[in-house]
Amino acid sequence: MDTRPIILHVEDDRSLQNLVRIALEQLGGYRVLTAGSGARALELAAGATPRLLLLDLDLPDMSGLQTLRSLRPLPGFAQIPAVFLTAACGPQVEAELRAAGVVEVLRKPFRPRELVQAIRRILEGA
Protein backbone atom coordinates (compact mmCIF):
# COMPACT_ATOMS: atom_id res chain seq x y z
CA MET A 1 0.00 0.00 0.00
CA ASP A 2 1.32 3.44 -0.95
CA THR A 3 1.55 5.50 2.24
CA ARG A 4 3.24 8.55 0.78
CA PRO A 5 1.46 11.86 1.52
CA ILE A 6 -0.55 12.94 -1.53
CA ILE A 7 -0.17 16.35 -3.13
CA LEU A 8 -2.80 17.46 -5.65
CA HIS A 9 -1.02 19.60 -8.23
CA VAL A 10 -3.20 21.70 -10.57
CA GLU A 11 -1.16 23.07 -13.49
CA ASP A 12 -1.92 23.22 -17.21
CA ASP A 13 1.67 23.40 -18.50
CA ARG A 14 2.83 19.87 -19.39
CA SER A 15 6.52 20.50 -18.75
CA LEU A 16 5.84 21.92 -15.32
CA GLN A 17 3.42 19.11 -14.49
CA ASN A 18 6.21 16.59 -15.06
CA LEU A 19 9.00 18.59 -13.44
CA VAL A 20 7.01 19.37 -10.30
CA ARG A 21 5.95 15.73 -10.02
CA ILE A 22 9.56 14.54 -10.34
CA ALA A 23 10.74 17.13 -7.80
CA LEU A 24 8.06 16.31 -5.23
CA GLU A 25 8.23 12.53 -5.70
CA GLN A 26 12.00 12.11 -5.95
CA LEU A 27 13.27 14.92 -3.72
CA GLY A 28 10.34 15.05 -1.30
CA GLY A 29 9.00 11.52 -1.18
CA TYR A 30 5.44 12.62 -1.88
CA ARG A 31 2.89 11.11 -4.24
CA VAL A 32 1.60 13.62 -6.76
CA LEU A 33 -1.78 13.64 -8.47
CA THR A 34 -1.69 16.01 -11.42
CA ALA A 35 -4.67 17.85 -12.91
CA GLY A 36 -4.41 20.04 -16.02
CA SER A 37 -7.61 21.96 -15.26
CA GLY A 38 -9.95 22.88 -12.45
CA ALA A 39 -12.52 20.34 -13.62
CA ARG A 40 -9.93 17.56 -13.62
CA ALA A 41 -8.85 18.58 -10.10
CA LEU A 42 -12.45 18.14 -8.90
CA GLU A 43 -12.58 14.68 -10.54
CA LEU A 44 -9.33 13.61 -8.85
CA ALA A 45 -10.51 15.02 -5.53
CA ALA A 46 -13.46 12.64 -5.60
CA GLY A 47 -11.10 9.66 -5.35
CA ALA A 48 -8.39 10.83 -2.94
CA THR A 49 -7.83 13.19 -0.03
CA PRO A 50 -4.51 14.99 -0.48
CA ARG A 51 -2.37 16.43 2.33
CA LEU A 52 -1.68 19.60 0.35
CA LEU A 53 -3.08 21.47 -2.67
CA LEU A 54 -0.57 23.06 -5.05
CA LEU A 55 -2.26 25.27 -7.62
CA ASP A 56 -1.43 27.50 -10.55
CA LEU A 57 -3.45 30.70 -10.83
CA ASP A 58 -4.12 30.66 -14.58
CA LEU A 59 -5.93 27.54 -15.68
CA PRO A 60 -7.81 26.90 -18.91
CA ASP A 61 -11.30 26.42 -17.53
CA MET A 62 -11.44 28.30 -14.22
CA SER A 63 -8.90 30.20 -12.17
CA GLY A 64 -6.83 28.48 -9.52
CA LEU A 65 -8.71 30.46 -6.89
CA GLN A 66 -12.08 29.30 -8.26
CA THR A 67 -10.72 25.75 -8.28
CA LEU A 68 -9.71 26.09 -4.64
CA ARG A 69 -13.14 27.48 -3.74
CA SER A 70 -14.78 24.54 -5.54
CA LEU A 71 -12.58 22.03 -3.70
CA ARG A 72 -13.14 23.46 -0.20
CA PRO A 73 -16.74 22.19 0.32
CA LEU A 74 -15.74 18.60 -0.54
CA PRO A 75 -15.54 16.23 2.46
CA GLY A 76 -12.11 16.50 4.11
CA PHE A 77 -10.95 19.43 1.96
CA ALA A 78 -11.85 22.38 4.20
CA GLN A 79 -8.56 22.38 6.16
CA ILE A 80 -6.09 21.11 3.55
CA PRO A 81 -3.27 23.66 3.21
CA ALA A 82 -3.24 25.36 -0.18
CA VAL A 83 -0.14 26.73 -1.88
CA PHE A 84 -0.09 28.71 -5.13
CA LEU A 85 2.79 28.39 -7.57
CA THR A 86 2.21 31.15 -10.07
CA ALA A 87 3.93 33.18 -12.78
CA ALA A 88 2.12 36.46 -12.33
CA CYS A 89 0.65 37.60 -9.06
CA GLY A 90 0.46 41.23 -7.98
CA PRO A 91 -0.07 42.37 -4.39
CA GLN A 92 -3.85 42.66 -4.85
CA VAL A 93 -4.17 39.07 -6.12
CA GLU A 94 -1.86 37.82 -3.37
CA ALA A 95 -4.04 39.56 -0.77
CA GLU A 96 -7.09 37.89 -2.30
CA LEU A 97 -5.36 34.51 -2.14
CA ARG A 98 -4.31 35.05 1.49
CA ALA A 99 -7.87 36.08 2.35
CA ALA A 100 -9.05 32.78 0.85
CA GLY A 101 -6.79 30.92 3.29
CA VAL A 102 -3.83 30.25 0.99
CA VAL A 103 -0.80 29.58 3.23
CA GLU A 104 1.97 30.30 0.71
CA VAL A 105 2.32 32.01 -2.65
CA LEU A 106 5.42 30.86 -4.55
CA ARG A 107 6.64 32.49 -7.75
CA LYS A 108 7.75 30.91 -11.01
CA PRO A 109 10.52 30.37 -11.81
CA PHE A 110 11.06 28.23 -8.73
CA ARG A 111 13.89 26.06 -7.42
CA PRO A 112 12.77 22.41 -7.05
CA ARG A 113 14.59 21.97 -3.71
CA GLU A 114 13.07 25.17 -2.34
CA LEU A 115 9.61 24.05 -3.44
CA VAL A 116 10.08 20.75 -1.62
CA GLN A 117 11.41 22.53 1.49
CA ALA A 118 8.46 24.96 1.52
CA ILE A 119 5.95 22.12 1.25
CA ARG A 120 7.75 20.09 3.93
CA ARG A 121 7.71 23.10 6.27
CA ILE A 122 3.99 23.63 5.71
CA LEU A 123 3.12 19.97 6.24
CA GLU A 124 5.26 19.73 9.39
CA GLY A 125 3.53 22.82 10.76
CA ALA A 126 0.05 21.65 9.81
Partner: protein, 191 residues
Protein backbone atom coordinates in the same frame (compact mmCIF):
# COMPACT_ATOMS: atom_id res chain seq x y z
CA UNK B 1 -20.85 56.54 -48.36
CA UNK B 2 -19.80 60.06 -49.37
CA UNK B 3 -16.95 61.91 -47.74
CA UNK B 4 -17.26 65.67 -47.45
CA UNK B 5 -15.60 67.30 -50.48
CA UNK B 6 -14.17 70.15 -48.44
CA UNK B 7 -12.67 70.31 -45.01
CA UNK B 8 -11.51 66.72 -44.82
CA UNK B 9 -8.20 67.70 -43.21
CA UNK B 10 -10.02 69.73 -40.56
CA UNK B 11 -12.42 66.82 -39.99
CA UNK B 12 -9.45 64.49 -39.42
CA UNK B 13 -7.93 66.99 -36.97
CA UNK B 14 -11.17 67.52 -35.08
CA UNK B 15 -12.13 63.86 -34.89
CA UNK B 16 -8.72 62.39 -34.16
CA UNK B 17 -8.84 60.03 -31.16
CA UNK B 18 -5.98 61.98 -29.52
CA UNK B 19 -5.54 65.62 -28.58
CA UNK B 20 -3.93 67.42 -31.53
CA UNK B 21 -2.44 70.88 -31.14
CA UNK B 22 -0.74 73.14 -33.66
CA UNK B 23 1.60 75.77 -32.27
CA UNK B 24 3.17 78.47 -34.40
CA UNK B 25 6.87 79.36 -34.20
CA UNK B 26 6.11 81.74 -31.27
CA UNK B 27 4.42 78.86 -29.42
CA UNK B 28 0.98 80.38 -29.83
CA UNK B 29 -1.89 77.90 -30.11
CA UNK B 30 -3.29 77.98 -33.64
CA UNK B 31 -5.37 74.85 -33.44
CA UNK B 32 -6.51 72.43 -30.74
CA UNK B 33 -9.14 69.77 -31.26
CA UNK B 34 -12.04 68.93 -29.00
CA UNK B 35 -10.02 66.45 -26.93
CA UNK B 36 -8.54 69.47 -25.17
CA UNK B 37 -11.80 69.61 -23.23
CA UNK B 38 -11.63 65.91 -22.31
CA UNK B 39 -8.02 66.06 -21.24
CA UNK B 40 -7.57 69.50 -19.69
CA UNK B 41 -11.10 70.86 -19.39
CA UNK B 42 -10.58 73.83 -21.75
CA UNK B 43 -12.75 74.46 -24.79
CA UNK B 44 -10.51 74.85 -27.86
CA UNK B 45 -11.75 78.42 -28.49
CA UNK B 46 -10.48 79.41 -25.02
CA UNK B 47 -6.89 78.74 -26.01
CA UNK B 48 -6.77 79.49 -29.75
CA UNK B 49 -4.48 82.43 -30.43
CA UNK B 50 -3.02 82.42 -26.92
CA UNK B 51 0.69 81.95 -26.23
CA UNK B 52 1.80 78.98 -24.13
CA UNK B 53 3.53 81.53 -21.88
CA UNK B 54 0.05 82.64 -20.79
CA UNK B 55 -1.28 79.14 -20.35
CA UNK B 56 1.53 77.28 -18.58
CA UNK B 57 3.46 77.80 -15.37
CA UNK B 58 7.12 78.91 -15.75
CA UNK B 59 8.62 75.47 -15.03
CA UNK B 60 6.42 73.74 -17.63
CA UNK B 61 7.11 76.50 -20.13
CA UNK B 62 10.86 75.99 -19.63
CA UNK B 63 10.33 72.26 -20.29
CA UNK B 64 8.39 73.11 -23.48
CA UNK B 65 11.22 75.36 -24.68
CA UNK B 66 13.71 72.53 -24.14
CA UNK B 67 11.37 70.19 -26.01
CA UNK B 68 11.12 72.68 -28.89
CA UNK B 69 14.92 72.90 -29.08
CA UNK B 70 15.12 69.09 -29.32
CA UNK B 71 12.46 69.03 -32.06
CA UNK B 72 14.35 71.64 -34.05
CA UNK B 73 17.46 69.46 -33.77
CA UNK B 74 15.44 66.55 -35.19
CA UNK B 75 14.92 64.61 -31.96
CA UNK B 76 11.26 63.54 -32.13
CA UNK B 77 11.30 61.33 -29.01
CA UNK B 78 8.04 61.66 -27.03
CA UNK B 79 8.14 63.56 -23.75
CA UNK B 80 6.10 63.12 -20.60
CA UNK B 81 4.42 66.20 -19.15
CA UNK B 82 2.62 66.96 -15.92
CA UNK B 83 -0.06 69.55 -16.70
CA UNK B 84 -2.73 71.32 -14.68
CA UNK B 85 -6.27 70.97 -15.97
CA UNK B 86 -8.86 73.73 -15.76
CA UNK B 87 -9.98 72.60 -12.30
CA UNK B 88 -6.39 72.58 -10.99
CA UNK B 89 -6.11 68.78 -11.15
CA UNK B 90 -2.91 67.04 -12.24
CA UNK B 91 -2.78 65.36 -15.63
CA UNK B 92 0.01 63.06 -16.77
CA UNK B 93 0.31 63.16 -20.54
CA UNK B 94 2.71 62.05 -23.20
CA UNK B 95 3.40 64.46 -26.06
CA UNK B 96 4.69 63.37 -29.45
CA UNK B 97 5.51 66.38 -31.59
CA UNK B 98 7.10 67.24 -34.92
CA UNK B 99 8.20 70.53 -36.43
CA UNK B 100 6.26 71.87 -39.42
CA UNK B 101 9.01 73.10 -41.70
CA UNK B 102 8.86 75.50 -44.64
CA UNK B 103 10.58 74.92 -47.99
CA UNK B 104 13.86 76.19 -46.53
CA UNK B 105 13.66 73.78 -43.61
CA UNK B 106 12.81 76.36 -40.95
CA UNK B 107 10.33 75.35 -38.27
CA UNK B 108 7.25 77.50 -38.82
CA UNK B 109 5.19 75.61 -36.30
CA UNK B 110 4.85 72.41 -34.30
CA UNK B 111 2.27 69.66 -34.49
CA UNK B 112 1.75 67.91 -31.18
CA UNK B 113 -0.22 64.75 -30.46
CA UNK B 114 -1.01 64.28 -26.79
CA UNK B 115 -2.31 61.19 -25.04
CA UNK B 116 -3.27 60.48 -21.46
CA UNK B 117 -0.17 58.76 -20.09
CA UNK B 118 -2.09 56.91 -17.39
CA UNK B 119 -4.20 55.24 -20.06
CA UNK B 120 -1.00 54.43 -21.95
CA UNK B 121 0.59 53.10 -18.76
CA UNK B 122 -2.41 50.87 -18.13
CA UNK B 123 -2.13 49.41 -21.65
CA UNK B 124 1.63 48.87 -21.16
CA UNK B 125 1.03 47.24 -17.79
CA UNK B 126 -1.41 44.80 -19.38
CA UNK B 127 1.18 43.88 -22.03
CA UNK B 128 3.83 43.48 -19.35
CA UNK B 129 1.57 41.22 -17.30
CA UNK B 130 1.06 38.93 -20.30
CA UNK B 131 4.77 38.95 -21.17
CA UNK B 132 5.67 38.35 -17.52
CA UNK B 133 3.45 35.27 -17.43
CA UNK B 134 4.56 33.99 -20.84
CA UNK B 135 8.24 34.35 -19.91
CA UNK B 136 8.09 33.02 -16.37
CA UNK B 137 6.31 29.75 -17.21
CA UNK B 138 8.90 28.39 -19.70
CA UNK B 139 11.72 29.90 -17.63
CA UNK B 140 10.42 27.91 -14.64
CA UNK B 141 10.71 24.72 -16.71
CA UNK B 142 14.24 25.58 -17.90
CA UNK B 143 15.49 26.21 -14.36
CA UNK B 144 13.63 23.28 -12.79
CA UNK B 145 14.83 20.85 -15.48
CA UNK B 146 18.47 21.95 -15.15
CA UNK B 147 18.41 21.88 -11.35
CA UNK B 148 16.84 18.41 -11.32
CA UNK B 149 19.50 17.28 -13.80
CA UNK B 150 22.22 18.69 -11.52
CA UNK B 151 20.63 17.03 -8.48
CA UNK B 152 20.59 13.66 -10.19
CA UNK B 153 16.83 13.19 -10.34
CA UNK B 154 15.62 10.59 -12.83
CA UNK B 155 13.77 12.03 -15.78
CA UNK B 156 11.24 9.21 -16.25
CA UNK B 157 7.78 10.45 -17.15
CA UNK B 158 9.00 13.33 -19.26
CA UNK B 159 7.26 12.55 -22.49
CA UNK B 160 8.79 15.10 -24.84
CA UNK B 161 12.41 14.23 -25.39
CA UNK B 162 13.06 11.85 -22.48
CA UNK B 163 15.64 14.10 -20.90
CA UNK B 164 15.87 17.16 -18.67
CA UNK B 165 18.21 18.78 -21.20
CA UNK B 166 15.57 18.26 -23.89
CA UNK B 167 12.88 19.86 -21.71
CA UNK B 168 15.19 22.79 -20.94
CA UNK B 169 15.97 23.26 -24.63
CA UNK B 170 12.32 23.03 -25.67
CA UNK B 171 11.34 25.66 -23.10
CA UNK B 172 14.28 27.89 -24.00
CA UNK B 173 12.87 27.81 -27.54
CA UNK B 174 9.45 28.82 -26.17
CA UNK B 175 11.16 31.75 -24.45
CA UNK B 176 12.80 32.71 -27.71
CA UNK B 177 9.41 32.65 -29.47
CA UNK B 178 7.80 34.85 -26.82
CA UNK B 179 10.66 37.37 -27.10
CA UNK B 180 10.44 37.37 -30.91
CA UNK B 181 6.67 37.96 -30.78
CA UNK B 182 7.13 40.72 -28.24
CA UNK B 183 9.83 42.44 -30.26
CA UNK B 184 7.71 42.14 -33.42
CA UNK B 185 4.74 43.72 -31.61
CA UNK B 186 6.99 46.53 -30.34
CA UNK B 187 8.33 47.06 -33.87
CA UNK B 188 4.78 47.31 -35.29
CA UNK B 189 3.79 49.64 -32.45
CA UNK B 190 6.70 51.95 -33.22
CA UNK B 191 5.65 51.92 -36.87
Amino acid sequence: MKLPRRGLARRVGERSPALLVYLDADLRVRFANRHLRNLLGHHPHEVRGRALAELLDPATLKYVLAHRAELERGNLAPRDYVLRDKQGGTKYVQVRAAPDRDARGRAIGFIACTVDRRRLDRARRRVLEVVNHDLRTPLASVIAALELLRDGAKPHGIDTTSSFAGVALQNAQRLEQVLEQWLEAERLDLG
